[in-house]
C-alpha cells in the first residue's frame, strides 16, 4: 500500500479473497472519513466489492487505486487479464461468463455517480468509478 501526499491515492492489491475483504474495509473507512452518508457508503462499498471480485475472478488479480476527491472518492480497478471482447454485452443485466448472477458490472454502474470502462481483448481491463459523498449536490446558497 503506497500513499502519496499530493494526490492522496492509496493502492491496494487484489489477489485473493482476503484482499477483497480488505478492499471493502479500506473503502468503508475512506468513505466514512470523506463524509459519505450511510446509504452512499453502502452503495460504494457494494460497487467496490463487485468490481474487485471481477478484477480477481475475470482479470486474474490486479489492483485498486483509491483517490480522495473534493466531496467524493474515485476508485480505479486495473487488471491485466484477458480483457472484455464485447463491453456492451458485459454491461447487460444477467449476462455472465462465470456462474454468478451477471449483475456485478451493470449493478455497480447504477450504484455510483460516474462509471467508465476500458478494455481490449488481451490487454486487460480498467474500470473507473466515482462516487459523491452526497448524491445530489445542492448548489443553492443558504442566504438567497
Amino acid at each position: 500500500m503506497q500513499t502519496s501526499a499530493d494526490t492522496a491515492t492509496t493502492r491496494l492489491p487484489i489477489g485473493s479473497d482476503a484482499d477483497l475483504a480488505w478492499v471493502r474495509q479500506k473503502v468503508r473507512q475512506t468513505a466514512t472519513d470523506s463524509g459519505f452518508s450511510l446509504v452512499q457508503q453502502t452503495k460504494l462499498i457494494t460497487a467496490a466489492s463487485e468490481l474487485a471480485r471481477n478484477t480477481l475472478i475475470h482479470g486474474g488479480g490486479g489492483q485498486l487505486d483509491m483517490t480522495v476527491l473534493h466531496g467524493g472518492l474515485r476508485l480505479t480497478f486495473t487488471d491485466s487479464g484477458p480483457g472484455i471482447r464485447d463491453i456492451e454485452q458485459a454491461m447487460t443485466d444477467g449476462f455472465t461468463t462465470g456462474n454468478g448472477l451477471g449483475m456485478g458490472l451493470s449493478g455497480a454502474k447504477r450504484l455510483v455517480q460516474d462509471f467508465s470502462i476500458e478494455s481490449q481483448p488481451g490487454q486487460g481491463t480498467t474500470v473507473t468509478v466515482t462516487a459523491l459523498a452526497t448524491p445530489m449536490p445542492h448548489p443553492r446558497p443558504e442566504h438567497g
Binding site: D17, R24, V39, T42, L101, M103, A108, L111
Partner: protein, 299 residues
C-alpha cells in the same frame, strides 16, 4: 551462508566456541539475564531468567559442537524453540515489533563476544578472530531461529482463528417450535455460506422446522455474490419443505439491493428478526396479538 564449507578453519573454530559456551555457560547466563530480552520476559525472579539463559547457551553450545553454526535446522535448537517462541510471543503482547525482538536478540551477541575475547591471550590473533566470527554467525542463526519460530506461530494462530470463525459464525437457534434462525455475522464468502447452508438444513431436519429465518443484520455488505448465496440457501430450504425468511435488511442495504438490480421478489423478507418471527408464528397458526411488539409475544 555456508561458512563451514567455505572456510576450513570455521568447523574447528565453531567447535572451540562450543567448548567455550559450555565452560562459561554460567557467566554468559548471568550477563544475558540482565539483557532486555530476558529481563522483560522473566519478571518473576532473576533465577528464572538465568535458567532460561542457560538453556539457550546450552542449545547454542550443542549447535556449535556440530561445526555448523549457520544451520537453523540444527537439532540443538529444538530444545529451546518452544521457550524462544514463548519469549517472542510475550514481547509481542507487550507491543514489541518483530524487528525490536530481533534487535534484542542481536544485543545478546556483544556480552558473549566480549567474554570470548577474554579467553585468548592475543585477542587480535587469527584463532581469536576465527572464533569470534563463528560465534557471531551462531548468534545470527539464533536470531533467525527466533524470527522463524515467531512467524510460524503467527501462521498457526491465523489458521486456528480462521477455523474458529467458521464455527463461531453459524449458530442455528431454535426460536420456537418449528422455527429456527441463523444470525449471519461478517463476510459471507463461499466457504462460510456453504457452512451456513449445511448447518441450517441440518437444523431444519433435526428440529422438524417449517420456518427458517436467515438474519443478515450482521452482514455489512450484500453484493450480488452474497445475494446469490442467500437465494441458494432459500431454495435449498424450500426443497426440504421449510419456508425461508430473510430478515435484518437495513434501509441502506435495501436501497443498494434495488440499485444493484437483484430480484429478491420470491424471497420473503422482513426488516427485523422480530417481524420475521411474528410472520412465521402467524403462518404457523400461533396467536400473535396484532400490533404487539414481537419481543413480548406469549405462547
Amino acid at each position: 551462508m555456508q561458512v563451514s564449507e567455505q572456510d576450513p578453519a570455521a568447523g574447528p573454530a565453531a567447535r572451540k566456541v562450543g567448548e567455550f559456551l559450555r565452560s562459561r555457560a554460567e557467566q554468559i547466563a548471568q550477563r544475558w539475564a540482565d539483557a532486555a530480552l530476558f529481563r522483560t520476559v522473566f519478571t518473576v525472579s532473576r533465577d528464572e531468567a538465568v535458567e532460561a539463559c542457560k538453556a539457550v547457551v546450552e542449545a547454542l553450545a550443542e549447535v556449535a559442537a556440530t561445526g555448523r553454526p549457520d544451520d537453523i535446522t540444527a537439532p540443538g535448537f529444538h530444545a529451546v524453540r518452544e521457550q524462544l517462541g514463548r519469549m517472542a510471543a510475550t514481547r509481542a503482547r507487550t507491543g514489541s515489533t518483530p524487528a525490536q525482538v530481533a534487535g534484542e536478540v542481536a544485543d545478546l551477541s556483544r556480552p558473549a563476544v566480549t567474554l570470548l575475547r577474554g579467553e585468548f591471550d592475543d585477542p587480535a590473533g587469527g584463532q581469536a578472530q576465527d572464533c569470534v566470527l563463528a560465534l557471531t554467525v551462531l548468534m545470527g542463526t539464533l536470531r533467525l531461529v527466533v524470527m522463524e519460530t515467531t512467524l510460524s506461530q503467527g501462521q498457526e494462530l491465523i489458521e486456528r482463528q480462521r477455523q474458529q470463525l467458521l464455527e463461531v459464525a453459524t449458530p442455528v437457534i431454535k426460536l420456537w417450535e418449528g422455527i429456527v434462525a441463523v444470525p449471519l455475522i461478517g463476510t459471507l464468502d463461499s466457504a462460510r455460506s456453504q457452512v451456513v447452508m449445511e448447518s441450517l438444513l441440518d437444523a431444519v431436519v433435526a428440529e422438524r422446522a417449517r420456518y427458517a429465518i436467515l438474519d443478515i443484520t450482521g452482514v455489512p455488505t450484500v453484493d450480488s455474490l452474497v445475494a446469490q448465496h442467500l437465494m441458494k440457501t432459500v431454495a435449498a430450504a424450500r426443497l426440504m419443505g421449510a419456508e425461508c425468511i430473510v430478515s435484518g435488511i437495513r434501509p441502506a442495504i435495501a436501497q443498494t439491493i434495488v440499485h444493484l438490480g437483484i430480484d429478491l421478489g420470491n424471497v420473503v423478507t422482513r426488516s427485523s428478526l422480530a417481524d420475521a418471527l411474528a410472520h412465521a408464528l402467524r403462518r404457523q397458526g400461533s396467536a400473535v396479538p396484532p400490533g404487539t411488539p414481537a419481543a413480548s409475544l406469549a405462547p
